[in-house]
């Protein structure tokens, strides 16, 4: 399937941290076309294939959960009070259209500050979560009937295609990464019997709230090396250019104190060998991804990180270039075919 279509489908699925349901099911279905898939206690989607008794066991991880909000209280006028679930960007929430996933899917609008109550000098400040409310257009009695407390709220956003084929949608963090891994499996499935290593593809849950999905799956799977796939910052106005990659310039290969040098070096040399465009992402410590959790699983796992450049992270208008996702998939397929990095001492 064209990578654009995979991303497009996954971006429309619903799967906030801890309630990955719709997104996990869709991803499992897409993977399941090629390899057997199972779920575990925390909802992780896991596909295992390749040479069962191989010395190297490669784990490829991409988190399937998205950021969202959760209903904490319904007031006497029927407005929903909420908290963030994962680091949703409050600055983009005012007057945002959302869906509330209660007994059924309900459209809602996030309230805006009324103009007559806003001091013109203060028109840039956005309230904290306890000052942000959702209007679903019902009175309290009906709202309480329709919306159980703990219901999830996801920003409503249909993917749009921008010039140059870029996709603009919610949850590209990290449906773009998940799409890359689904493409990896698609690329490899004709040669699964000939792979030199054992492979686990993990679409993990709860990355946005602490990485518990990857932590537990890495423990259970016990890989010898791993590559996490996520999104990272693409240059955009206001973002310090030292912290950013460039959209459409290929996967960002992570380089940091906590990432394994040999895995990182192997990823780079595969890019050079296969003429896959790539760029550096150099960080000073933790990466803010599942790589941080996987690399210290059990007695340690040699871990690398590949990120897809993305604009507007944690908003409803995240943007990625599907070419970067495809190149990420090509890189990781090559990584698997090569049997991973040489980590023998």
């Amino acid at each position: 399937m064209a990578v654009y279509e995979i991303i497009n489908g996954l971006a429309q699925a619903i799967g906030p941290a801890g309630a990955e349901g719709g997104a996990a099911t869709l991803a499992a279905q897409l993977l399941g076309d090629f390899v057997p898939v199972r779920r575990d206690a925390l909802g992780n989607v896991i596909a295992e294939f390749g040479k069962k008794d191989a010395k190297e066991h490669i784990l490829l991880d991409a988190h399937i959960d998205e950021i969202g909000m959760i209903v904490t209280y319904i007031d006497d006028d029927g407005f929903l009070h909420i908290s963030g679930c994962g680091g949703a960007d409050r600055r983009t929430m005012i007057d945002a259209e959302v869906y509330v996933h209660g007994e059924s899917k309900l459209p809602g609008v996030i309230c805006c500050m009324p103009p007559h109550l806003t001091d013109p000098a203060n028109r840039s400040k956005v309230p904290d979560w306890d000052g942000i409310y959702i209007d679903i257009g019902y009175n309290a009695e009906k709202a309480r009937e329709l919306v159980p407390l703990g219901s999830r709220v996801i920003v409503r956003s249909k993917p749009i295609k921008l010039i140059g084929g870029k996709i603009c949608a919610k949850s590209l963090d990290n449906r773009a990464g998940a799409a890359a891994l689904i493409r990896v499996v698609e690329l490899l499935h004709g040669e699964i019997d000939k792979l030199p290593c054992r492979v686990s593809v993990l679409l993990s849950t709860r990355e946005e709230v602490g990485g518990q999905g990857a932590t537990t799956a890495a423990f259970a799977l016990a890989p010898t090396q791993a590559v996490a796939v996520d999104v990272s910052f693409a240059r955009q106005p206001g973002a310090p250019s030292g912290s950013c990659g460039v959209m459409s310039s290929g996967p960002m290969i992570g380089y940091s104190p906590i990432l394994d040098l040999r895995v990182t070096e192997h990823l780079r040399s595969l890019c050079k060998e296969k003429s896959i465009p790539w760029q550096n992402e150099i960080m000073g410590g933790g990466t803010g991804t599942n790589a941080d959790k996987i690399s210290v699983s059990r007695g340690g796992v040699r871990t690398g990180l590949v990120s897809i450049p993305q604009r507007n992270m944690h908003t409803a208008v995240e943007i990625v270039d599907p070419e970067d996702v495809e190149n990420t998939a090509q890189l990781l397929a090559a990584f698997v075919r090569s049997g991973g990095a040489n980590i023998d001492n």
Binding site: D95, M313, I319
Partner: protein, 341 residues
Amino acid sequence: MQTLITKLEKLSHLSGISGREDAVREYILKEIAPYCEDVMVDAAGCVLAKKKGARPAEKRLMLAAHMDEVGLIITRICEDGLLAFAPVGGIDPRVICGKTVTVGENRIPGAIGIVPIHLSSDKSSVPNIDSMYIDIGTTSKEESEKYVTPGDYAVFDTVFEPFGDGLLKGKALDDRAGCAIMLELMKRDFPNDVYFAFTTMEEVGTRGAKCAAFTLQPDYAIVLESTTAADIAGVAEASKVCKVGKGAVVGFMDRSTIYDRELYQRTLDIARDKNISCQIKQAVAGGNDSGAIHQSRGGVRTMAISLPCRYLHAPASVIAKSDFEAVCELSYQLALSILAN
């Protein structure tokens, strides 16, 4: 009711930012043709029309609603292909951050991005509008110039639909709701000729209305508008202004008009006598075409009847079907009363 809503849906989806109301004007010209005569489009772009009554006008009554909506205008194409813009009409910067728009006549889709919170020192503030930009996916000024031109307008892309319990959600309900009501009223019978003005550029200074009132020379005017309902969580009862679902809004004063006291009282009396749901606007806030109309020539006795509307001047606004109907009925009854006395 359903025709009113169908018309509003159509009007809501049209693009008509102040000064470029063309698409809305064309639709309205087509719709009013069977019901009106002396239809003209004035130099400001307003549609002026006469609905014939049983007799000619003894005193001139003008009904007015504005066709324009707030939106954005592209000011400059940056070297990296991003589009800088300015607001047209009053727009709170917080409501456009992280939203999508369509740019120009070819409706090029774009996103209003923001620096990720992870990289922002201030996680609670949005930038000024003049540091925001629309991203259409291009990477250079040259590439963007193939698709857009400075001066193109960018409009919100909200889908109009029912919402909650008898509510409607869409963009530009201010004041396409007023326009839809005028299209409905035009089909009704009046004892005398009545003048209809679909005005332009209300959002940038009630400019069309000033010209329309001068041309039509009304003695009386009824302005059909939308007004801010702040009946939301976190707002003190005394500051709610008016409430969605509680009826047509009748105001005594706003920031540009003190309404005709006798007409104000008469409107409330009519609402009570005809059992039309009605509420008083509980604030001096906002302004509308009445500001220009009431001081036209030697003065015009003016009343505004408004729809309570949540999230005015933002991509997703909300009104109630029942209020929509109430404003329609109340303005018709007030018109009849003005013509009779």
